[in-house]
């Protein structure tokens, strides 16, 4: 327990001083700003002002206001958040092999389990911090939009808000665990990140394409990591998966998707621990 705490503190120290952590965090906030606010706002500001009440224009504006915080938060996670977190986690583990720091760390005597556990915990803290910062940032921007557009400030429904934060954490946790696993599997940063991105952005979509052609294949594609993440996000947005937000799906119910993601987290972490424990450190 002591070893785990020591290693978590040590890993957190080095992650917080790592430029990559802040670059990826900055990319996240930039994308959040662009997709949740800048693009919708431009569309809203330059759109046809005569569109009828309750139509798409009002919906666009509403999506940027404080009461939409739960949906705005979670919509970004399957779209780009998962990829960012996966890159972060894969780099964290993979680079440690490249730099020879696993060797340095493991020879301090934390035990491989505690060393890996500490790293997982530190990555978890960073991801949680990212969610917290992103929440504050998103809420701040929505207040700004409300002020600029002279809208009443309506607090989000807190139940929805917590469901959204919990769902985001689960989705990001799943991608982080996948990244840790890939980093441990490939023992390097480049291949792990490459494989992870190939999977999220190409392979899953290609498989879904194949499923459209082959009868019964969707049984497989419905349970891929991305399907779980997309479905959970879909279940937590009022429009469901139908509104075309990239990565948001409705192939599974919220409960099914949550269970699926939980299973993926457990499997990826178990594989990561096993790989680090079993293999020689060169």
């Amino acid at each position: 327990m002591n070893a785990l705490a020591h290693s978590a503190r040590a890993e957190l120290r080095r992650l917080l001083r790592w430029p990559a952590t802040w670059v990826l965090g900055g990319v996240w906030l930039t994308l959040q700003l662009l997709f949740a606010f800048a693009f919708p706002y431009i569309a809203y500001a330059t759109g046809d002002p005569d569109a009828f009440q309750g139509g798409p224009m009002d919906q666009l504006l509403a999506s940027m206001l404080p009461q939409s915080l739960p949906e705005t938060l979670i919509a970004g996670t399957p779209m780009f958040g998962g990829a960012i977190v996966m890159i972060f986690a894969a780099l964290t583990v993979g680079s440690a092999y490249n730099w020879g720091t696993w060797k340095t760390v493991l020879t301090q005597g934390p035990g491989r389990g505690a060393a890996t556990g500490g790293l997982v915990a530190a990555v978890g803290v960073c991801v949680a911090g990212l969610v917290a910062v992103s929440t504050a940032f998103t809420y701040g921007l929505s207040l700004l939009v409300a002020a600029v557009e002279s809208q009443d400030i309506v607090a989000p429904a807190w139940g929805d808000f917590f469901a959204s934060v919990g769902g985001s954490a689960l989705i990001l946790g799943m991608w982080a665990a996948a990244g840790l696993f890939l980093g441990a599997l490939t023992r390097g940063p480049a291949l792990s990140v490459g494989l992870g991105l190939l999977w999220t952005f190409a392979v899953e979509n290609l498989l879904r394409g194949a499923a459209a052609l082959i009868d019964g294949f969707d049984v497989v594609t419905d349970y891929l990591p991305g399907s779980g993440a997309g479905s959970l996000a879909g279940s937590l947005t009022a429009a469901g998966g139908g509104d075309g937000t990239p990565g948001v799906l409705d192939v599974l119910t919220g409960t099914q998707a949550s269970v699926l993601l939980g299973v993926y987290v457990a499997v990826f972490l178990a594989l990561t621990f096993t790989l680090v424990k079993r293999r020689d450190v060169a």
């Binding site: 080095r14 430029p19 060797k103 340095t104 760390v105 301090q108 060393a115």
Partner: protein, 333 residues
């Protein structure tokens, strides 16, 4: 051999006080089987090839043990197994009486294996702080370790910007954190300048004087000859020698060139009691040689002069560790 030992031990290193104190400690401990590291038929196969092939060695508490061998002999692989980084294919090892790689053994061991592994974006100090946190140590220990490797002035710079030798020093500093009983250093002088090597040698002496045990691998035989109490030589994965440097180098020879030879032999025998043999040098000339240890050389020369023989040269010949090492490794090739 044993009769010669006291003399050779003191003469071997040029660090007489250090050696004497080390010798004294050895006598206190008494038990020659007090091994801090020992291996029994330790073996590691990579694919079909044996990188380490049945090595049984023992490092005694408080000694400086040199681990020698040509490139690819299996030194690093052996040291990795002692730290639990690599699992043996067969055989066993114990470090501090514990399984290698067990947390308790590692906490009492500082190590530098095949170059330093640090976070390039962190400063030297921050890197050591990360390592220190793993050990539950703090800033004080970090400053002390940095000071011992003379890196304090550059401690705030990023590791990435360090020169080769500075990186190596930081690696040694990490090994020193918390003053562990045992240091396992794989080629610690790699990349160090002459001054750096000299201070590394001093550091190893200091560590040894403080009672720490050092197991170091090196290709610098002159350094090993000066620093190590005992050496193990690995060739192609097997331990082909283990013992003191002095035993490995063999006796020091007294060499006399004088004519006529029969009277010279008698003169030396009469003056010192030492027996000389007739041998030939490379050019076919007759030389007189004998075991140099314990011989009163000035008395021998006085005897030769008093006898009235023509003395051309009197010399003491030593085989360097390098000579022995090259002979030994060539033979196995």
């Amino acid at each position: 051999m044993d009769a010669r030992r006291g003399y050779v031990q003191a003469g071997r290193c040029g660090y007489v006080p250090a050696l004497m104190s080390r010798g004294a400690r050895g006598a206190d401990d008494g038990d020659m089987n007090d091994h801090i590291v020992s291996t029994d038929r330790l073996t590691k196969h990579y694919g079909g090839r044996a990188a380490v092939d049945g090595i049984s060695l023992g490092v005694r508490r408080g000694e400086v043990y040199g681990f020698l061998g040509p490139n690819g002999a299996g030194k690093t692989t052996t040291l990795r197994m002692l730290l639990g980084l690599v699992r043996p294919t067969s055989g066993t090892a114990s470090v501090h009486g514990l399984a290698p790689g067990s947390p308790d053994a590692l906490r009492r061991t500082g190590s530098l294996i095949e170059g330093p592994g640090f976070f390039p974006y962190l400063s030297g100090v921050d890197n050591l702080l990360v390592v220190a946190r793993y050990r539950g140590l703090g800033r004080y220990d970090v400053d002390e370790a940095l000071d011992r490797v003379e890196l304090t002035s550059r401690g705030k710079d990023r590791f990435r910007t360090y020169s080769l030798g500075m990186k190596q020093r930081l690696g040694v500093a990490a090994a020193l954190l918390g003053r562990p009983d045992l240091l396992i250093l794989d080629e610690p002088t790699n990349g160090l300048d002459p001054a750096g090597m000299a201070s590394m040698r001093r550091l190893i002496h200091d560590l040894s004087d403080d009672g720490q045990t050092v197991l170091l691998s090196s290709h610098l035989l002159a350094e090993v000859q000066q620093c190590c109490d005992r050496v193990g030589v690995v060739v192609e994965g097997r331990l082909s020698y283990e013992g003191t440097v002095a035993e490995l180098r063999g006796a020091r020879m007294l060499e006399v060139r004088a004519e006529p030879v029969d009277r010279a032999v008698r003169a030396v025998k009469a003056a010192t009691g030492a027996a000389l043999d007739l041998t030939e040098d490379g050019d076919g000339r007759t030389v007189l040689t004998g075991d140099a240890d314990g011989v009163d050389v000035p008395a021998a020369i006085r005897g030769l002069v008093a006898e009235g023989v023509d003395v051309h040269a009197v010399a003491i010949r030593e085989r360097s560790l390098e000579d022995v090492f090259l002979t030994m490794t060539e033979a196995t090739r």
